[in-house]
């Protein structure tokens, strides 16, 4: 009996081995992207998002925005003569290495024609080289780090970039809040935070303000009292927290607990569900953002009401950008007339679509130049609201 099992197992291993070899050779034959584009059937679109982990709020909002837009496009008759968009979604657990393997899987196994994602720049930067290598267009809704689209000519984005965002934040602080002495807390592990910090420091100094040496922390830190105490001793009149929402909520709270009452400013990375854990401490904080749900324009209000109807909550800027990303992709597919990677890339490079987050006109660097809004963060009854303050245009 045991002898039989032994042989049975050996045979099983041999079979698995043979299957693996076969799969590997088939994979080599079917070079994704370069193969002839399918002309019938559903169009497969890959989505990689942080549906769990530190950035789960980003992933959730992003996916919802993408789903809403896809549903609307499909109901309206799809693209390329009635073909439906079909989403294939991978969770990268908020980890860069998972992001890169998720995109590899989407491209090599699922044979998607384009990839949407990510929100956090670090994860997009980890996955973009994969898309570039396989020549599959990648469109990121919300990664603002400058380097993202520099990875290659298949990588596009539909949001502003951090050099601009930093300028906006610095200008608002200097001109509107009239503060002169700034402290900066940055997340050393996130390309986004590092890039945004550089931009804020550069522009605030250029305006004539003084910036204290930036203080670093790491994603996942929960105790900022020591660094905040140190910052407090230097007596700044504004604090920039350039990281993501999880840590921002804690930083704001602990700063207020230490008696630091100065305005605290952050970027679009603050837009996440967990920011509400900052509670009352969120008073006197401001962020730069991509879009404001208060905007009375019918395009925005239509989006807000259909999002609310489908998901029973208010859309945030990540959801809005992700919604727009599908619209831009669908438009590019339509104009390319095919799902072939190179043709879709060329169409994306000339995209010019009126989106919820503004006019999405692709420039030479595969970025979109859009105005930014400054919002005041308010907290009441357990909910955070971003109240529109001003719009700052690119120049």
């Amino acid at each position: 009996m045991s002898c039989g099992t032994y042989f049975g197992r050996r045979r099983l291993f041999a079979l698995i081995g043979a299957a693996l070899v076969a799969a590997a050779t088939t994979a080599c034959e079917r070079r994704p992207g370069t193969a002839e584009a399918d002309s019938t059937g559903d169009i497969l679109v890959g989505v990689y998002a942080s549906l769990s982990g530190d950035g789960a709020s980003f992933g959730q909002s992003s996916l919802e925005g993408i789903q809403l837009a896809t549903e609307q496009i499909n109901t309206a008759g799809g693209v390329l003569g009635g073909r439906q968009l079909r989403l294939l979604v991978e969770d990268d657990q908020s980890r860069p290495e998972e992001a890169s393997s998720a995109v590899t899987k989407l491209i090599t196994q699922d044979q998607v024609v384009a990839v949407l994602g990510e929100v956090a720049s670090r994860r997009t930067l980890a996955a973009a080289p994969v898309a570039q290598r396989y020549q599959i267009p990648m469109l990121t809704p919300a990664s603002t780090n400058e380097r993202v689209t520099q990875v290659g000519d298949y990588i596009f984005r539909i949001c502003f970039i951090d050099p601009f965002q930093g300028e906006v934040l610095a200008a608002f602080a200097y001109n509107d809040l009239e503060v002169r002495r700034a402290a900066v807390l940055k997340d050393l592990q996130q390309d986004y935070s590092v890039g945004l910090t550089d931009a804020v420091v550069r522009h605030f100094t250029a305006l004539g303000g003084e910036v204290l040496p930036p203080v670093s922390y790491s994603t996942g830190d929960a105790d900022f009292r020591a660094v905040l105490t140190q910052i407090r001793a230097l007596d700044p009149d504004v604090l920039f927290a350039t990281g993501y929402y999880q840590e921002a909520a804690t930083i704001v709270r602990q700063a207020r607990e230490l008696g630091m009452t100065m305005p605290i400013l952050g970027g679009d990375g603050w837009v996440g569900d967990a920011l509400r854990n900052g509670r009352e401490a969120l008073a006197n904080t401001y962020i730069s953002n991509h879009y404001s749900g208060d905007n009375p324009s019918p395009v925005v209000q239509d989006f807000v009401s259909s999002y609310r109807a489908k998901f029973n909550r208010e859309p945030d800027s990540i959801a809005a950008l992700s919604y727009d990303s599908v619209k831009v992709l669908a438009d590019a597919l339509e104009r390319a007339g095919t799902t072939a990677g190179a043709a879709v890339r060329d169409a994306l490079a000339t995209a010019d679509v009126a989106g919820v987050t503004g006019q999405l006109r692709m420039n030479e660097q595969r970025n979109v130049e859009k105005p930014a809004v400054i919002q005041e963060v308010t907290y009441a009854d357990g909910e955070v609201r971003f109240v529109y303050r001003t719009t700052i245009n690119p120049h």
Binding site: S52, G53, D54, A56, Q93, S94, L188, P213, V215, S216, Y217, S218, A222, D223, R225, A226, V227, T229, Q230, R232, A233, Q246, A249, T250, E257, L258, G259, A274, N277, R279
Partner: protein, 299 residues
Amino acid sequence: MDTFLQQLINGVSLGAIYALIALGYTMVYGVLRLINFAHGDVYMLGAFAGYFLANALNLDANPSVLWAIAVTIGAMAICAGVGVLIERLAYRPVRHHSRLTALITAMGVSLLLEYGGQVVFGATPRFFPQMIRSETYAIGGLQITNQSLLIIVVAVVVMFGLEFIVHRTRIGKAMRATSYNLPVAKLMGINTDFVIAFTFAVGSALAAAGGVMVALAIPRIDPLMGLMTGLKAFVAAVLGGIGNIPGAMLGGLIIGLMETWLSATAYSTYRDAVAFAVLILILLVRPAGIMGSAVTEKV
């Protein structure tokens, strides 16, 4: 000067957290000579138990000190049970094998709890409900929250409580006897299985209390929260002299203060590395720890 004193307060409240967890390491080591690496993860389970209990009672909307105490006791009871279960299922079967076997088992249990936690609770950090209204007391230019004060007070009380149990009670005597020589203690009629289970129950309950209180002060909890905190508490226990109760307290405070002062310099991102450098240094220079001696009186 204000800044120095404020950092002292920050450091002591962080150190008290490490001390509370280090006490659990030290207790188990004292009796079994086992580094219970799963201890930090029991601390995590304690925070999650508190999270679910507090949310079931809707304490976020109606903060109440009495209910907060009830939640803490509930979490302690749950984790005491978990601790006993871990001992019974994982450690007892390998008790008569080499100490290395037990150590590897402990790492296995730790990984099981961390990644099992990710499956059950999800990897997304959660925010712990505010069972007690956060209040900040200002003394001159110094700020301390009621939650930090609570942690410090509880850590000190627990330390004296443990000293009392170990040195003044019957079960404490049995623990010391078991620690001194397990087979002989058994021959003398001591129910060593019970003593060991009791040790795990108390240690795990302490970890749970620590988990709930830390989550109150720093309300972000996730399944991997026990990993780094647990390791640093372990360093604290070794630094103070593992097996020695006041030593665990002292070690915790030293690690907490060091980390705080380092965070305040330009080298803030090296603070984890420094904690482990201390571990290496202490093992090289004085393996018995600060309060330990060559013939340490073990718990």
